[in-house]
């Protein structure tokens, strides 16, 4: 008997019944619902922004919120679908959330260039700024932990991409909640304390993914 045949026999001995992981859609729905509940809890606990009734009909607010909601959905779905080994999936699942992220960045940068707001020290003040970044992380942490366990239960084969999109989705959850919490609409503030932390931590997440999701 060759070495590999003996190896197969050893594996077969260990081959008790396993419960297949739930279909991607079921896992995604479970995650997105828990993320939605946590967004609402986060807004209620920290308290909604004072100008919410004024801003809720503004084009910029609607567009940013829509893009962030799409980013949450797409990046979460991508992270979960990448956690199942399959060579037949297309690149669209990677391209779409990346385009949405770029769209969010573009809108903020566009408004920054509009000169509609005074970009000064107050916009970049680290006091409220850091509170926003901390808020994004605090609200995103539980959906992040849920996502982590859903991915660990599977077998991701592209660890960096899974790392990037899982971190991006949990941060997008936090950033979406912040839309209803932070009452500083200055694009400089949003760019420095909302967008940059999301992008930077998601990139760091791609590095961490290689360690976190290795199996």
């Amino acid at each position: 008997m060759t070495e590999t045949s003996e190896f197969i026999e050893r594996i077969v001995k260990d081959g008790e019944a396993v419960k297949p992981v739930a279909p991607p859609l079921t896992r995604f729905l479970f995650w997105i619902l828990s993320a939605l509940v946590l967004i609402i809890c986060g807004i209620l606990i920290i308290g909604p922004r004072t100008d919410l009734s004024l801003i809720i009909n503004s084009k910029r607010f609607i567009l940013e919120t829509f893009l962030l909601a799409v980013l949450v959905v797409l990046s979460g779905a991508t992270a979960l679908s990448l956690s199942i080994p399959d060579e037949s999936y297309g690149r669209l699942r990677i391209v779409l959330p990346t385009i949405t992220l770029a769209g969010w960045l573009t809108i903020i940068t566009y408004h920054l260039g509009c000169n509609c707001y005074v970009a000064g020290y107050s916009a970049l003040n680290p006091g409220p700024g850091l509170r926003c970044t901390a808020g994004i992380l605090m609200i995103g942490i539980i959906p992040g932990i849920i996502l982590f366990f859903l991915i660990k239960r599977a077998a991701p084969v592209n660890l960096r991409l899974v790392g990037f999109f899982s971190f991006l989705s949990l941060l997008a959850v936090g950033a979406l909640a912040l839309q209803f919490i932070c009452d500083n609409p200055n694009p400089a503030h949003v760019l420095v304390w909302h967008v940059l932390p999301v992008v930077t931590i998601a990139i760091l997440g791609s590095l961490a993914g290689a360690k976190l999701f290795k199996w």
């Binding site: 077969v12 297949p20 199942i84 037949s88």
Partner: protein
């Protein structure tokens, strides 16, 4: 004629994939006989997949076993209505890249991963054959004793003990000769 053959091959691949999917579903339910049959059927397929991508033929079986272990660990992630081959080759590729990374860390950039090769638009087989030619011509330049030790150890796969017996030398002498040969090879390859 050619298109008929291609169609036949595609049909046969689809049939195999469907059969493996059925066996995997049974294996997920704890049917060990189906699991044994599945792994035994996958083994030659994986061996041929790995052989085309790993330069050191003595490590092919190790990599095949790593992939088999990967399939075993991840068997709960096979979703019955998805194509089995896509699932299997995704894991095989992951384990192969993992093996290459470990090898690169251990030995330096001797072997490049598929991703790196793709970036530089070089096919794996072209790279491997050119690397093999370089190494073989470098080995040919070594002094006779060193050449014999390296050939027996690395190309023919003999153990140090067997080489020591063959050359009528001690095992430590063989190791020292091999070490000197590697240094000399490095210099030759760097120059070329």
């Amino acid at each position: 004629m050619n298109s008929k053959r291609t169609n036949k091959q595609a049909d046969s691949k689809r049939e195999s994939s469907a059969r493996w999917a059925a066996l995997m579903r049974k294996a997920q339910n704890g049917d060990r006989e189906a699991y044994r049959q599945l792994l035994n059927e996958l083994c030659p397929v994986l061996r041929s997949y790995v052989r085309n991508r790993v330069s050191n033929i003595h490590e092919v079986e190790d990599v095949v076993q790593e992939i088999l272990m990967g399939l075993h660990k991840a068997r709960a992630t096979y979703i019955p209505n998805r194509p089995f081959s896509s699932w299997m080759f995704a894991i095989a590729k992951y384990k192969l890249i993992d093996y290459e990374r470990r090898l690169m860390r251990k030995r330096g950039p001797e072997i490049l991963s598929e991703e790196v090769l793709a970036e530089h638009d070089i096919s794996a087989s072209t790279y491997q054959s050119s690397l093999e030619n370089d190494v073989r011509s470098a080995i040919a330049k070594l002094p006779e004793k060193q050449r014999k030790v390296v050939t027996m150890l690395k190309l023919e796969g003999h153990s140090v003990k067997e080489i020591a017996h063959e050359l009528n030398a001690s095992e430590s002498a063989v190791k020292v000769t091999a070490h000197r040969a590697y240094k000399a090879l490095k210099k030759i390859l760097e120059k070329s």
